[in-house]
């Protein structure tokens, strides 16, 4: 059974919605910069969505006091649903991922705040709030597996449709910036104090970002003109370290390999790879080594759009899935920004200019999370 993509929605530092995002991707307009909204003692660049909670709440039709993650999630999911224009009377599910839940509220209220500020702390409550807003009741699930969360939500949604439990699924994820996350990543010393340079020999780490990305997936009989299909997906555990990837990227390699197998494709069929490409020393060499093992000697064009949006954690798989769908629809290839010196260990390097009108038939999107959780999705033109 084919899993169709009927809609896509996104919000990040580079734009609200697909059109704004595409414009930024084409014009090389990155979203990271000095902190405007988040208050922190650390002078680190972040990729913030340029709207206050009050403004987001108005767009999302949610209360201003809602956690920022919920606001971002609702906006992107609503855009996807609107495009999908689903018929009534079908079984719809909402599979949403996040890592911080309502932490933006609780970290301000902690330790002496009122109990009502903590009621949305945990990840599931954010999902439920958005499900209520979207009017989805049939099935609601929350996944929390770090940076691969929303990619996992997407293929979990596909499975539910394949097994006949649901007719359509809104699947993806979101995360807002929070001091908790910023402090945490800072103690791991993997943040770049300048805008990040994924896959550059002199990369210094990642920039944190925020945002949300969702797809509407359906069975074949629901959608008449899908944008694309979710043709392959896989998940594997690296089984190496809690936060670092194995040197050869074993987990990444396995995830990519099995996704290709599921899609019935060979490495040579991939026209673009949207890299996980965080810009950390470890991820980029690990992911790069895995790509070398799988694709050598013919490498497709590839890039990390985290050079635009920063690393949006729970939202990254979803946001990058939406960018992948856009690439298929318009024949776009996105540049990897600020790449000056290719990595000396790898015989390939990401592309650095935007292209359109390219024959993009199959896109591979990687999302690798802490805990060794490695996911790869493949989207294909219909």
């Amino acid at each position: 059974m084919n899993i169709f993509v009927a809609g896509a929605g996104v919000i990040s530092a580079i734009g609200k919605g697909k059109a704004e995002s595409l414009d930024a991707l084409e014009k090389g307009r990155a979203g990271m910069g000095p902190m405007q909204r988040l208050q922190s003692i650390h002078p680190l660049p972040v990729a913030e969505v340029p709207y206050s909670n009050a403004q987001l709440a108005q767009i999302a039709c949610l209360p201003e006091t809602a956690p920022r993650t919920a606001l971002l999630s609702a906006i992107a999911a609503a855009e996807a649903l609107q495009q999908a224009n689903l018929p009534s009377g079908i079984r719809i599910g909402f599979i949403s991922a996040n890592t911080i839940g309502g932490m933006d509220k609780t970290e301000v209220a902690f330790p002496n705040g009122k109990l009502r500020n903590f009621q949305y702390h945990e990840c599931g409550s954010v999902t439920e709030m958005v499900a209520d807003r979207l009017g989805i009741t049939h099935h609601v699930s929350t996944i929390s597996t770090a940076c691969s969360s929303s990619a996992n939500a997407i293929f979990f949604g596909a499975r539910l449709i394949r097994h006949g439990y649901l007719d359509a699924v809104v699947a993806g994820g979101a995360d807002a910036l929070a001091k908790f996350t910023l402090n945490g990543f800072n103690t791991l010393m993997i943040l770049d104090s300048n805008p990040c340079k994924p896959f550059d020999e002199h990369r210094q780490g990642l920039n944190l970002g925020e945002g949300a990305g969702y797809l509407v997936l359906t069975s074949e009989k629901i959608t008449k003109s899908p944008s694309a299909t979710l043709s392959g997906y896989a998940n594997a555990n690296d089984a190496y370290h809690q936060t670092a990837s194995s040197p050869g990227g074993q987990g990444s390699l396995q995830a990519m390999r099995e996704a290709l197998k599921k899609a019935n494709l060979k490495p040579g069929d991939i026209d673009y790879i949207n890299l996980h490409g965080t810009g950390t020393q470890n991820n980029d060499i690990s992911e790069g080594s895995a790509i070398q093992t799988l694709f050598d000697p013919d490498y497709p064009p590839m890039s990390s759009t985290k050079s635009f949006t920063g690393h949006t954690l729970g939202g990254s798989g979803g946001i990058e899935a939406v960018f992948s769908i856009m690439a298929l629809e318009g024949g776009y290839l996105y540049p990897n920004l600020r790449l000056e010196t290719p990595m000396k260990e790898l015989p390939f390097s990401p592309i650095t200019t935007f292209q359109k009108g390219v024959n993009v038939r199959h896109v591979l999107s990687n999302s690798f999370g802490f805990g060794g959780n490695c996911s790869s999705l493949i989207f294909s033109k219909v």
Binding site: S141, N237, A239, G371
Partner: protein, 172 residues
């Protein structure tokens, strides 16, 4: 099935005579999941390729216990070792590192243990992927309360059927 009630996790570790110094670095949730998996797999070596063994876990409070501890550490100097564990799926990472499991893994957050969900998810894994064995269940740690219930499901079943009723008998 084994019960360890009223003991601390360190006591269980000692009682089970496990030698794994990394245990002490884990947060409470990971210690709990790790121990539950050790007990589950004791004297039951899995003879499948490591890529075919999946781990699917769930709980209600995610990594909240450690989130709170980490947040407290930020008052002084934030602890990187604590921050590492402020994600619920790290417990899966620890189990996989210990046992070399490389199959699919996912972590779900539910209000309460959902036997129907777990059963369906694991079955679809076995149908759709090379998964031949799956460790699945519930691992919850918050403050003084902890619960873990893990099942080992194998494709070629042996004595106990993998059914919703049987799951609920242990943890309904």
């Amino acid at each position: 099935m084994l019960h360890h009630e009223g003991h601390s996790l360190e006591q269980v570790y000692a009682a089970e005579e496990i030698q794994y110094p990394k245990f002490y670095k884990m947060d409470a949730l990971s210690k709990l999941g790790f121990l539950a998996a050790e007990i589950l797999l004791k004297d039951r070596p899995l003879k499948y390729p490591k890529e075919d063994i999946a781990v699917i876990l769930s709980n209600a409070n995610s990594s909240l216990d450690t989130d709170i501890r980490y947040q407290q550490s930020t008052k002084d100097i934030p602890s990187p070792a604590l921050f590492v564990y402020t994600l619920p799926n790290i417990v899966i990472g620890e189990i996989c590192i210990r046992n070399g499991f490389k199959g699919e893994n996912s972590f779900f957050v539910f209000k309460a243990f959902d036997a129907t969900f777990i059963k369906r998810y694991v079955e679809s894994l076995m149908d759709e992927t090379p998964t031949q064995a799956c460790i699945c269940g519930w691992v919850e740690f918050l403050g003084a309360q902890y619960h873990a219930a893990l099942w080992l499901v194998e494709y070629r079943a042996s004595d106990t059927e993998f059914s919703i009723e049987n799951l609920k008998k242990v943890y309904g």
